[in-house]
């Protein structure tokens, strides 16, 4: 105690160089003046931070102007593209001057036998580093706020995707009329309007398609009636070869909205179509179709919703299986990794360190990376996810379990021994009651983590809902993705609550 006090009061040894020389030295190598003024750590910190700031700044300037050759142009371009670099440069110069001044005062203070404090300088250095961080991190708040607006509809779909959760089964109502091409002697009678059922009438009933050189074909007049109101009607053709296609007119697919009576009228030019034939000038029948999409039956859960539920279950199973395998395999390993059990002789100590090292290495590799490795072995799918999470769980649980074993109170063991119990009885009565609560608690905790992890492990092919989510995001199907996100969030929340409750009980 006394010694420490004396050390604190011990006066600072005088500087090795006079203050003016310290300044000059710090001007040549920043920090050298402080170092020779016996403020060793201060000098080293100043040199290290000045050098790293200057280095980072140089790199960023080069990055911004890398397309240019001349140094002057590079710098000019960089400042123009990223004005923050200019501010940082000015600060760096200020820092340089401050360091020179600081060297002078540090040396003078040392000569007087006291220490100087550099909180201001340190703060300034940190400020410049964070400014650099802002530039390197490409932080642009303007971007964030201006583009957030555009992203709102997408985010909206993600946040409230439930429209996609329900769908109505749909049926297509197709009403057709025949056209003979080219026109023949035989007349095809014009159809008549029906009273209740939907119908289409085409006039005339024969004509020629548009030529390949662009000569327009016959113009037809299409009349329809008794269609459902409020639902668009698409116009399709079926050529004599039986191929169905939708006609475009003026770049748009032809569609028409029926009026309040369910009727419509439309003029159509017969489109061009390459038709293969065996007999020249054979009578060929074309078909014009009026198609209307109709919902039939009750609303039901959509395919995406069902798929999301299936995959969510798969995800939970992946997490559970990984936890089960992890627990089974990590219990024996945890005994090998418990210091108190393994410090008996050299061999057990070697095993202890070996096991611990391997566990540390395995644990330091993220489950996502394990999943990628597992997909190489067993291919895409839930099994890869289970393997990845199992490997990581073994490492994590074995460490936690072994720490629980290490923290066993030896008192009860001694006491049970003293009653004349044999070693099996001692383990059952003194060891197991002590390790069961932490084991249960750690296992539940791991189960929680595993299910959480299994939601993202699908992103790299490990099966489960992550796989689906990643696909939907890539297909820009944000509604479906939103359903998956909701499921993940709900599951994780429930899990969080349940695992916290159970762990509380086993404290």
């Amino acid at each position: 105690m006394n010694k420490q006090n004396m050390k604190a009061k011990e006066p600072q040894k005088p500087s090795l160089v006079p203050p003016w020389l310290a300044s000059i030295l710090s001007a040549i190598i920043p920090g050298l003046g402080q170092f020779l003024a016996r403020a060793y750590t201060r000098g080293i910190i100043i040199l290290a931070s000045f050098a790293s700031i200057a280095g980072l700044l140089g790199w960023r300037i080069y990055e911004k102007g890398r397309r240019y050759v001349e140094i002057k142009t590079i710098i000019e371009k960089a400042y123009k593209l990223s004005p923050i670099l200019l501010i940082i440069t000015i600060f760096l110069v200020l820092l340089y001057l401050w360091i020179i001044a600081d060297a002078y005062f540090t040396a003078r203070k040392s000569n007087k036998g006291s220490r100087s404090y550099g909180a201001g300088l340190l703060f300034f250095i940190l400020a410049i580093l964070f400014l650099l961080g802002w530039q390197i991190g490409d932080i642009d708040m303007g971007d964030f706020f201006s583009q957030a607006d555009d992203a709102l509809p997408t985010i909206g779909r993600l946040m409230w995707p439930w429209e996609k959760a329900i769908e109505r089964p749909e049926d297509i109502l197709t009403i057709t009329a025949d056209i003979i091409s080219p026109c023949q002697d035989i007349e095809v009678p014009v159809a008549e309007a029906l009273e209740i059922d939907p119908y289409v009438i085409i006039t005339p009933t024969c004509g020629d398609p548009t030529e390949v050189d662009g000569t327009p074909g016959t113009e037809f007049h299409l009349v329809g009636g008794n269609f459902m109101t409020g639902q668009e009607i698409e116009i399709w053709w079926k050529d004599p070869n039986g191929n169905e296609f939708r006609q475009r007119q003026g770049g748009e697919y032809i569609k028409v909205m029926p009026d309040e009576n369910g009727s419509f009228e439309l003029d159509i030019i017969m489109p061009y179509r390459l038709v293969t034939t065996t007999v020249e000038n054979e009578n060929r029948i074309w078909e014009i179709q009026a198609r209307q999409l109709l919902s039939v039956g009750d609303a039901q859960l959509s395919e995406e919703f069902k798929l999301a539920i299936e995959k969510m279950i798969e995800t939970i199973i992946i997490g559970m299986m990984a936890t089960l395998f992890g627990v089974i395999l990590s219990i024996p390993i945890s005994f090998l990794a418990a210091r108190n059990l393994m410090s008996q002789n050299l061999l057990t100590k070697i095993i202890y360190y070996f096991v611990r090292t391997i566990l540390n290495v395995i644990r330091s590799i993220e489950p996502l990376i394990w999943a990628i490795i597992a997909t190489i072995i067993v291919g895409l799918g839930p099994f890869a996810g289970i393997i990845a999470l199992t490997v990581h769980s073994i490492a994590a649980l074995a460490k936690l379990y072994s720490e629980a074993i290490e923290s066993i109170d030896t008192g009860p063991i001694e006491a049970i021994h003293a009653t004349g119990a044999n070693w099996i009885q001692t383990i059952v009565y003194a060891v197991i009651p002590q390790i069961i609560p932490p084991f249960v608690s750690f296992t539940i905790y791991r189960w929680d983590i595993n299910i959480r992890m299994s939601t993202v492990i699908g992103f790299v092919g490990g099966g489960g809902i992550g796989f689906l989510l990643q696909q939907w995001i890539r297909l820009l199907d944000y509604r479906s993705a939103g359903i998956a996100v909701w499921f993940i969030a709900i599951t994780v929340m429930i899990l969080d609550y349940v695992s916290a409750e159970i762990r509380e009980r086993y404290k």
Partner: protein, 262 residues
Amino acid sequence: MLEIKNLTKIYDDGTVALKDVSFNVEEGEFLVIIGLSGSGKSTLLRCINRLIEPTEGRIIWNGRDITHIKGDELRHIRREIGMIFQHFNLVKRSSVLKNVMAGRLGYTSTATSVFNRFSEKDKEKAIKVIDRLDIEDQTHKRADELSGGQQQRVGIARALMQDPKMILADEPVASLDPVLAHSILLNLEKLNQEDKMTVICSLHYLDLVQRYASRVIGLREGEIVYEGMKSDVVAMTDEQFKEVYGQEAERVGSGLEGSLGH
């Protein structure tokens, strides 16, 4: 009943805990071992039931040399010797009843005890012992929910389940306040006087020693430096006291007697 002959214990790290210790214990004695922490009291007690293997010397239990016995023989000797501890050494997360039942393990086969099956007779015995120590209200509580004094009573109950002929008590009251210390020692005294159990107990406070001991052994650095009967202890001078506890020791808690009304 118990003869300790030239007992020496040297730990692996070279610490000499006991040096050529010899003494006899007669049936029905309340033998108190005094000494500073580290003087070898705990080692001595643990050598008696062989929780610690002595390096040299012999332990004779009822005329039988138990220094080197092993396996079932050793366990059968251990169950005749109950032991209680300074820190109670209960399984904290188990119930009081389970902790007490554990005292019966030496009489129970491995298979039945693993599944927590004890005979009805044992269960009745446990209830009786728990009643006797006034902890019947705590029977189904977890051991760590109990106060220190109650926990030590559970410790005594566990020892009593062994039907011991002798009780070893390693600083049984060092973690308790003076009021509880007396109540625990009164329990031991009752066992000693009513049930004729031999008690070997290590203690710190001279006042407690004077009150409860029928005979006293003083240990210092692993050697016996004092031996006396109850009358000697009551008349023990500060000089003799310092002989055992070293020059820095003073009588502590001399004011306790008054406050407790003993």
